[in-house]
């Protein structure tokens, strides 16, 4: 083992630190036009009229699209007009699209489009959406095309309903001596990736559609454009260069559709649509909100006996990926604990909010806040150490998940080990609370999480290897480099398997759907696992081919050959062998005769044994494995002002195998930073009209460098037997426990139970005021 686990420098590092790296908006051609979206200023309104007369007078305007009926789009339910007709359902929704020669002209014209609205009653939260007689976001919900496993309820705002029914609830409550119940909520927020979303579309005279997009899912773009507009799959080519942060927000397909419609309107000329920051926050899909109620029961020893959970997800105006988020939330609804009796209703609700994309953790950072806060309430009521309560309930091989998957030593990590390690990292045994002075106390909070990746049952991944004349290898795989360094890890996997220098492996960063083998989507912490397996498969293919030709030239059986250091050689006498460069394009004998030919390796992987969920009980295998993690956060809290500083944040994740130490730590730290920002500051503020009041980075503020705590990262390595070198997913897990751990620390510090995000001092003050003023 030479390369796996080493902190190999990312293959994209030099280009990124020197500013050479190219992102979608950096690609510009002379005849490229600019698209500009006109957005709805209201959450819910009827479009009375759209006047484009003045806009057409702006020089350079080529097209204005408004009020036109296009096929409805949307992944699980086709409920979304690409450009609103008749009414708008969220603040930021596209109502018109202008195409002009330059971005400035497009914006000028867009500003001159006059839209008259008539306000409609607004659905401003999923709880309100769930009420009887709530205004309907979609009046014709029953008429939409949909996927089989979406379950919209016409006449309501329910986009889907996932049920988990496991065990016997009556028995569970009977065995429970202690029961706690609590409700939690938080509004939608944003991903705030550094690169705002951008798409370019061009339709060539022969009908070939060329798309370039900052996407996590170029193959999905291809598939969906084909589905929506009835275009032959082979005539759609989607290219994705480097992506400047995605976090799930770029797994949704939106601007690509608009760019395609725009290009079509101008005779196929290339049209670029680049989100401003405001559009990226408002118009493009956001981070989902949630209203949750959790009821947990435990016996005298603290063993969990029953869990009843209601999730009302704020899917926003259109269901799109929120349906899958709702399902993923149900699948892991209990958190990483053994609970034999589980009842969960997970509803995807339509509201008049920006619609939801996946967000790093895919429902798990959200549900974990509700579960982990309730676990602390339970510990309090049981008068138990909260970490101990989690330890004795930790999910283990032999237990079943809410969807009744039987866990074994490969498909679940070791949560107890994670808890032990985090206990050391945060010095839990020195005490959860310490006093600094009259006003300041230091308080620790803990949490746990788990996650499986609920992805399509037949999600594929592929890899192609080609050689250069010097014996170095080119690696092509469909994973998008969204900043996670996955492509570097793939090179490490290949180098490890071929026992060669990782610097002699060249990785193609850009993906295009015509020549790159398909990788489902770069989401769900599946890049390393699926693409890694495909690369290993391709490596086997190359090994066979190399040995075949070497066996012929060396006149030795294949079984006697070994591969290392870019050479094929005799196992018992390594001095007899051939370099890759002498055989990868065929072997040329001294007299000029040649045998063999160019070696091209191919490999693929498809997840196995994934099954659909039973619509009545939820039974089924939603994903391949469960990664588990434990967390701690320490804050210094001001008892008078309710302000606090983040001192330490710790995550211990069972990642199966650390593939690249520095990058793994970086992933976990970055994720913690994101989780803390979500927990402590990032949210949309809505007014009564459903308008987002803070759609700018002036007022929507992610964590800045310098505001971060000290990060501690630990790993446990329980190999996933079928993962590449035992690796499990890793990219999302740092996020997931942060809201719960921070909420727990602050609830202890403030002496009041906190149920909402973000955890700003005003929220704590409000909870204290309510508690102080509450009648006895």
């Amino acid at each position: 083992m030479d390369v796996i686990g080493k902190s190999v420098i990312r293959k994209d590092a030099l280009d990124k630190v020197t500013g050479r790296a190219m992102y979608t908006d950096d690609y510009q051609t002379v005849h490229m036009l600019s698209g500009k979206i006109v957005i709805s200023p209201y959450g819910h309104a009827r479009i009375v009229s759209i006047d484009t007369q003045e806009a057409w007078k702006v020089p350079g305007v080529r097209a204005i699209i408004a009020g036109k009926h296009f096929p409805l789009v949307g992944e699980s339910i086709r409920d979304r007009p690409p450009i609103a007709v008749d009414k708008v359902r969220y603040h930021g929704e596209p109502v018109a699209l202008v195409v002009a020669d330059t971005p400035a002209q497009a914006k000028q014209a867009a500003d001159l489009i006059q839209v008259q609205y008539e306000l409609l009653p607004v659905v401003n939260s999923p709880t309100q959406a769930f009420e009887k007689n709530a205004p309907l976001v979609h009046e014709r919900l029953g008429e939409y095309e949909k996927e089989e496993d979406s379950h919209p309820v016409p006449g309501t705002n329910i986009a889907t309903h996932i049920k988990i029914r496991k065990g016997n609830m009556e028995l569970g409550w009977r065995e429970s001596e202690t029961i706690v119940e609590a409700s939690f909520s938080f509004a939608p927020s944003d991903h705030a990736a550094m690169e705002t979303r951008c798409a370019i579309a061009e339709i060539e005279p022969d009908g070939t559609v060329q798309i370039m997009t900052s996407s996590q899912a170029p193959f999905m773009v291809k598939q969906l454009l084909s589905d929506y507009f009835n275009i032959e799959l082979g005539k759609i080519i989607v290219r994705t260069p480097l992506v400047g942060g995605a976090y799930g927000g770029k797994a949704s397909v939106q601007l690509e559709v608009l760019a395609y419609l725009a290009s079509k309107e101008v005779g196929g000329r290339p049209v670029k649509i680049l989100n401003t920051r405001e559009e990226d926050i408002l118009t493009s899909p956001c981070h989902i909100g949630l209203d949750a109620t959790v009821k947990l029961g435990a016996d005298r020893q603290g063993k969990l006996k029953a869990a009843e959970i209601i999730f009302l997800w704020d899917g926003g105006a259109y269901s799109d990926k929120a349906i899958d988020v709702t399902r993923a939330g149900a699948v892991d609804c209990t958190g990483p604990y053994r609970v034999d009796n589980v009842w969960c209703d997970s509803y995807c609700m339509y509201t008049n909010h920006p619609y939801a994309a996946p967000f790093r953790g895919f429902s798990h950072s959200e549900l974990s806040f509700a579960i982990e806060r309730t676990m602390d309430l339970l510990a309090q009521k049981l008068n138990m150490d909260p970490l101990e309560l989690r330890y004795i309930n930790a999910i283990m091989p032999g237990d079943t998940t809410p969807t009744r998957v039987l866990l074994n030593k490969s498909n679940v990590g070791n949560l107890q080990k994670c808890i032990e390690k985090v206990r050391e990292l945060i010095k839990w045994d020195e005490g959860a609370i310490s006093r600094v002075n009259d006003r300041l106390i230091r308080v620790k909070g803990v949490s746990c999480s788990w996650k499986t990746s609920t992805i399509d049952a037949n999600a594929p991944s592929g890899a192609i290897l080609t050689f250069n004349r010097d014996g170095s290898i080119n690696l092509m795989a469909g994973v998008i480099e969204i900043g996670t360094g996955t492509k570097t890890v793939l090179a490490q996997i290949l180098a490890e398997r071929l026992k060669m220098d990782v610097n002699k492996i060249h990785v193609r960063m850009e993906v295009d759907t015509q020549t790159t083998p398909q990788h489902w989507k770069t989401v769900a912490s599946r890049g390393t696992f699926m693409s890694g397996r495909a690369v290993l498969n391709a490596a086997e293919d190359v090994i066979v081919q190399l040995k075949e030709i070497a066996s012929c030239v060396l006149r030795a059986p294949k079984e006697d050959l070994e591969i290392a250091n870019s050479r094929v050689f005799l196992r018992d006498d390594p001095s007899i062998g051939l370099d890759f460069k002498d055989i990868s394009f065929g072997y040329k004998y001294p007299n000029g005769n040649s045998v063999g030919g160019q070696i091209i390796g191919r490999g693929h992987y498809v997840l196995r044994h994934i099954s659909n969920l039973d619509p009545e009980t939820g039974e089924g295998r939603p994903g391949p494995e469960w990664t588990v993690a434990a967390y701690g956060v320490e804050v210094e809290f001001d008892l008078r002002d309710y302000t606090y500083q983040l001192l330490t944040a710790a995550t211990v994740v069972d990642c199966g195998r650390v593939m690249n130490q520095k990058m793994a730590e970086g992933q976990v730290m970055g994720a913690m930073s994101m989780g803390l920002a979500f927990a402590s500051r990032e949210t949309f503020y809505f007014d009564k009209l459903g308008r987002v009041l803070n759609p700018q980075l002036r007022t929507y503020r992610p964590l800045r460098y310098g505001e971060n705590p000290r990060y501690l990262v630990g790993f446990v390595e329980t190999p996933q037997i079928d993962g590449p070198y035992g690796a499990r997913g890793l990219g999302e897990h740092g996020v997931m426990g942060m809201p719960g751990a921070l909420g727990n620390a602050l609830s202890i510090a403030a002496g009041v139970s906190l149920h909402h995000l973000p955890l700003i001092p005003e929220l704590i003050w409000r909870a204290k005021e309510a508690a102080n003023g509450a009648p006895l």
Binding site: P103, A104, E278, R704, E707, P758, E762
Partner: protein, 278 residues
Amino acid sequence: MLPFDFDYFKPDTLEEAVELFQYLDHNGKQPMFFSGGTELITLGRIDLAYTEAVIDIKEIADCRVMSLNGGQLLLGSTLTLTEIEETNLFPLLTKTASEIADHTARVKITLGGNICARIFYREAVLPFLLADSQVVIVGPEGKKAVPIHEIFHEQLLLNRGELLVQTITESRFIRAPFFAIKRRQQWETGYPLITVAALKIDEKVRVAVSGLCPFPFRSKEVEIALNSGQSIEARVEAALRVLPRPILDDVEGSADYRLFVFRNILTDALYKLEKERI
């Protein structure tokens, strides 16, 4: 991206700048004096600012003055906030200015730009309100020095075509004990929830505030209450009863919460300044 084109002028003298403004204004160009440019860029791109001509004053010598002599501190209006911080001639101003925006922006934002800003926090004005400074204004009528209290009410009341050239501050205020704090919704980035600058001179405490109301202010009534000789707690409560209105109630914080925060800050300010001896 700014969705409009504009002409750019860079006059060498104040006279030229003033004349240019009049000329361009007369020709309907909606001219704008320009120094750091951050507001034009950030508000222009979202259609909240518009001009067809900018007059860049940031290198006019009178606006670049930074001197402390004869008991007076002169600060030019186009000094950047980082220049003011680095020179640190007026520690209270340094402290207040160093909390505005972030470092990258402060390299561009100028003293005059912040005082005359459309975004209403205008925190850089607070120290000058406390120090009874004078401001030097130039306009079609020529150059004049005016006490800041005569011309700053919520904002600097410039006539069309006038611009802020300098501030003049007596050095005894610069040496006075002070207290300055900026509290935000959360941590170190963002607009003020409340910014307070306070100083003690002639045994009296002075307080200027931004973020509590939709304008910065220094209030005579508040200061009378704070200097009334009762217990600190009683004086703070008295001050809270005479605050200007409205109290801000927005995404940064509710009105009630702002008052909670303000009460604690005032208490801290009094405790700190009571202990100081000149």
